[in-house]
Symmetry: C2
Subunit: 403 residues, 2 copies
C-alpha cells in the first residue's frame, strides 16, 4: 500500500475472487443489475473494476432465487469482475413510508407492487449470499439529516446489534468453515488486501457457493461520540472491511468531510474503508485525503440522464439552448470516446428529441470523468504528488474543482 | 454486378462520397439522427454501411439550419458513412389529421408543438440538400391500404408532377452544373453504381456543399396499371435511383411481393432499386429475388424496444415468464456479441425492470440478425446459391423462415 506522507490518502490493491481492484476506487451503481444505459462491454472499455448492485432491488426483482439459479449475479448479468452488494438498509430509508423498523428487522412494502416483505440482518446476508457478490454489507439503519440525537443514537445502536447478528449468521452459514478469511500482507510500502479466497470458476449453471467478504457499517450521524461508540462495536465484532454509512444525506459538506476524517481514523489501517453514497468528483479527492478507499454514487449516472455532464470547466446543463450550435465536444479537455466523436450540439439535440443515445453518451462521459479522476488521484498518491493535486482542487485549478 | 440466373436477385456496389455500400443492403432507421439505443460505434461494429434519417423529423427538430451549420448530417451525428434521407411524404401520411395535401405541397402541423409548416417538392429537396445526405428522395404522396382507385390514382399522378418539380429544383440548384451524375460501369458480371462524385472531405465546420443523388419514387398502390403509368412518368424524368413507395402499408403480403416484382421489372437494370419501409427478414429474401437492392424498416429496432427479438427459431417475446430462468442466449445459433455474452433470463429481467440496457441489447441483436441475413443473401447471389437459399426460406429450413 502506498501512503501519502502528509494526508491519510492511500493506494492499494483489493484482491477478490473475480479480480483485483486498484484503490482508491469508484464503483458505478448498477441498481437492478445494470448500470443504466451502459453495456457491460462499455463498462469494461471504461476500465470499471467493480460494480455496486442493490440487494433490495434484486430481491424484489427478479428475485434472488432467479439470480442464484443463474449461478449468481456475476453470471446473471454477465459481469465476470468484482461486485459489491449493499444490504438494502439505505433503500429502506430512502423509500420512507414504505418501511417500519423493529428490533427484528425492517418490514416494508415493495415499491413495485405493494407486497409485504421482511428484511432482517440474517435475511440480508442470506439474500446476498444467494446473489454471490464479492463483497456484501451488513444490514444497517441509516437515518436522514437532520435527525434528533435520540433517533440517531437509537439507529446507531440498532446498527451495532444488527451487525452482530449479521456476522453470527454469516459464520453459522459455514462461511468461516470454508476457509474464508483476509490475508493482509504488509510489505515495506504496499499492502495487499485479499477479499475472499481465490476459487476456480465452475462452468456449470450451479457453481460452488461464493464466499464473499462481509463488511460492517458504522453509523452515528454527525455526532462524533456516536460514531466512536458504533465504530468500537463494529470493530469489536470484526469485519473484512468497514463502511461509513449515513453521510451525504443532507448534512453540510464540512460535516461530511469532518465526520469522514474522524471515523476513518478509528478504523484499522489494514482494512478497506468504504464511504457509502459519496459523492462529487471533488468529494472523491477530499475523502481520499481522509483515508477512504472505496466510493459509490449515482451522481455520474443519474446526472447524465438528467442532461448534466461533468467537465473540466464545471457542470454543464447540456439541454440549454446555448449549445444548440456548439460544435465542441462536451469537454474539450476530455479524452473519452464520446468527446472524441460527438458534439455538444448533437448531444443537446438527442436530449431534446428524447433519444436514448443522449443518456448513453452522457453516462459514458460522466463515468469516464469519475474513473479518470480516480485514476489521477491514485497515481498522485503513488507518485507522492497527492498534496499537490489536493491543493489544485482547493485552489480551483484542477478539473474537479468546480464539480 | 452479380445476377442470379434464375431470379431477379442481384448483388452490386453502390459508390457514394462517404463510402461503398454492398447491395442488397438494409438501412437501419435513424429517425431523428440516431438509431434508437445504438451508438455510432455500435453501428460500425455491426457492419452497418448506410443509415436512413427522416427529413420531416430533422426539419422540425433540431432544424435543417442547425444541421447545416454543423457541416451537414454526417458531421452533426458523427457518422462519416453513407446516409439516405427520405422526403417526409411517408411521415405526412402516417401522421394523418396533421396534414393537408394540395397541388402545391403538404401543409402540416408539427406533431411536437402544433406549429404550421409547408412542405413542397422544392422545399423537400432544399431541406435535404441542407442536411447533406448521400441519397435524397423526391417528395411523394403515399396512400394507405386500402384506398379507392380514385384516391390511389390521384396520389400517383400528384407524385409524378411533384417528381418533375423536385428534379427541376434539384437541377436549378446548380447540382447538375457541379458535375453531378451517375457513372454506371458494366463489366462482364459486375456493375458499379456511383452515386455522386467523390469529394475530399473538408475539415472545416462548413465544408463544400454535398452533392447528393436524387431518387424518384414510384407510387400506384397495388394497381399494376397505375404503377406502370407512374413508373413511366418517373423514368421519363430520370433519376439516379428508383424507389417503390406505398408498399407494406397494410396490403396482403402476396400483393406486396407481386407489385414489387411487377414494378421492379419496369425499372432500368443499371440503377439501384429501393423498396421503402419493407420489411421482415423473409421479406428481404423474397424482395431481393424480385430485383430489390435497398431496404429500410423500423421492424428490427422498434420490435427490439417492444421486447420482440428475431431468432433462427422465429420471433421471441422475451418478456414472457417462460424465459425467467432461461440461461440460453436469445438465439443459440446467433454469433452476435449479445448472444455471446447475455442470457434470455437477464434480458427478460432488464425488460421487466425497465432498464435501458434491455432495448440496447435487443436492438443490437435484431440489427445483427438483419445485417447477417442480408450478408447471407448477398453471398448467395454472388456464389450462385441464391435459389437454394430462397428454397430453404420457403420450405421452412432457413433461419428467416419464421420471421
Amino acid at each position: 500500500m502506498a501512503r501519502d506522507p502528509s494526508t491519510r490518502a492511500r493506494a492499494g490493491l483489493l484482491h477478490t475472487a473475480h479480480g483485483v481492484i486498484e484503490t482508491p476506487a469508484f464503483m458505478p451503481v448498477g441498481t437492478a443489475g445494470s448500470v443504466k444505459g451502459m453495456t457491460q462491454e462499455d463498462l469494461e472499455r471504461l476500465g470499471v473494476q467493480i460494480l455496486l448492485a442493490n440487494t433490495y432491488h434484486l430481491y424484489l426483482r427478479p428475485g434472488h432465487d432467479i439470480v442464484r439459479a443463474a449461478g449468481g449475479l456475476h453470471r446473471f448479468m454477465a459481469w465476470p469482475h468484482p461486485i459489491l452488494t449493499d444490504s438494502g438498509g439505505f433503500q429502506v430509508m430512502s423509500l420512507k413510508g414504505l418501511g417500519r423498523v423493529t428490533e427484528d428487522g425492517v418490514e416494508f412494502r415493495s415499491h413495485l407492487d405493494g407486497s409485504s416483505h421482511f428484511l432482517s440482518p440474517e435475511r440480508a446476508v442470506e439474500i446476498q449470499l444467494a446473489l454471490g457478490a464479492d463483497i456484501i454489507m451488513a444490514l444497517d439503519e441509516c437515518v436522514a439529516y437532520p435527525s434528533s440525537y435520540e433517533a440517531t443514537r437509537r439507529a446507531m445502536q440498532l446498527t451495532g446489534r444488527w451487525a452482530r447478528r449479521a456476522k453470527d449468521y454469516y459464520e453459522r452459514a459455514g462461511i468461516r468453515g470454508s476457509g474464508f478469511g483476509f490475508r493482509g500482507e504488509a510489505s515495506c510500502d504496499r499492502l495487499t488486501l485479499e477479499v475472499g479466497p481465490a476459487f476456480s470458476e465452475s462452468r456449470t449453471p450451479n457453481p460452488e457457493p461464493r464466499i464473499p467478504a462481509l463488511f460492517g457499517i458504522v453509523q452515528g450521524g454527525i455526532d462524533r461520540a456516536l460514531r466512536r461508540e458504533n465504530a468500537e462495536q463494529i470493530l469489536g465484532i470484526g469485519f473484512e472491511g468497514y463502511a461509513l454509512g449515513g453521510l451525504s444525506v443532507g448534512e453540510p459538506k464540512g460535516e461530511t468531510y469532518d465526520v469522514t476524517e474522524y471515523t476513518a481514523e478509528l478504523l484499522p489501517w489494514d482494512r478497506p474503508r468504504y464511504l457509502m453514497g459519496v459523492g462529487t468528483p471533488s468529494d472523491l479527492v477530499e475523502c481520499v485525503a481522509r483515508g477512504i478507499d472505496l466510493f459509490d454514487c449515482v451522481l455520474p449516472t443519474r446526472n447524465a440522464r438528467n442532461a448534466c455532464v461533468f467537465t473540466s470547466e464545471g457542470r454543464l446543463a447540456i439541454k440549454s439552448a446555448r449549445y444548440a450550435r456548439d460544435q465542441a465536444p462536451l469537454d474539450p479537455a476530455c479524452r473519452c470516446p464520446v468527446c472524441g466523436r460527438y458534439s455538444r450540439a448533437y448531444i443537446r439535440h438527442l436530449f431534446q428529441a428524447g433519444e436514448m443515445l443522449a443518456a448513453i453518451l452522457a453516462t459514458q462521459h460522466n463515468l469516464h470523468f469519475y474513473l479518470d479522476t480516480m485514476g489521477e488521484i491514485r497515481q498522485a498518491v503513488i507518485s507522492g504528488d497527492f498534496v499537490s493535486l489536493l491543493c489544485r482542487v482547493r485552489t480551483g485549478s484542477s478539473k474537479v474543482s468546480h464539480t
